[in-house]
Symmetry: C2
Subunit: 114 residues, 2 copies
DNA sequence: TTTCTCCTATAGACTGTCGACATGAGGCCG
DNA sequence: CGGCCTCATGTCGACAGTCTATAGGAGAAA
């Protein structure tokens, strides 16, 4: 996937993987890679600043924990984060059907098969 | 539509509207607005630099013409531009189904209804 | 004559992504 | 014991490309 095409959609992805359960940064990367069959490989230089930004916006809340000697910062969605996620989803639907309409492509059914 | 979410997809949109016939800049804006039911309102500060970039990349070729006293620069797709468009379309399909998979949304059918 | 639409264009601010780098603990292998 | 890999977090500076604002000019319409 072309780098930078994710721009503007990363927030949605992060919020989405945190919907069901809290995760720490590294686990978010792995989860995104898994859900996208390896297509999404979020660099740490993108992920960590994004997490801080989302926390600053009040969409995430983080807590430190130590597993063994390892420090982890675990992020969980706030109520505002859930609302933001709902917005992101609906914006994505609009966006995606708009672009598809212009390109003359019909979005395929990969999401259904998954 | 949130500004900036188009980032990385504008090239595809421009190439797509030029697929069937050459158009000048202003007409491209109108065409995009029309095809997207007004959702896409490309500012001139985005469009014109993008057109020059695409021409520099060899995807477009422009010619000046005068209708009345009005100067227009008309852009047409080159052969390389058509190949680029095909690439953009296939990248869009991948991108779109990837994001949809992560968000857990199924792209809706707006493209079919249009 | 003033204002609207058409039409092109640039400059500068801004923002978010990226690649590279830095740091450190734990685990495994030889 | 030494080295290297994985896990884990984070920053910095470069960069690209979008946006807002601004500019200019022709034709049409009021």
């Amino acid at each position: 996937m072309r780098p930078d095409s994710l721009r503007g959609h990363i927030d949605a992805l992060i919020l989405a993987v945190l919907e069901d359960r809290p995760l720490h940064g590294y686990a978010i990367m792995e989860e995104l890679a898994k859900l996208s069959s390896g297509a999404i490989d979020l660099p740490t230089g993108t992920l960590y600043p994004a997490l801080r930004r989302l926390e600053r916006l009040g969409y995430l809340h983080s807590t430190w924990s130590a597993t063994g000697g390892r420090q982890r910062r675990t992020y969980r969605l706030t109520a505002a984060g859930r609302r933001a996620l709902a917005d992101e989803r609906s914006e994505w639907r609009t966006f995606s059907s708009t672009i598809s309409a212009v390109l003359g492509t019909t979005p395929d059914r990969a999401a259904d098969r998954a």
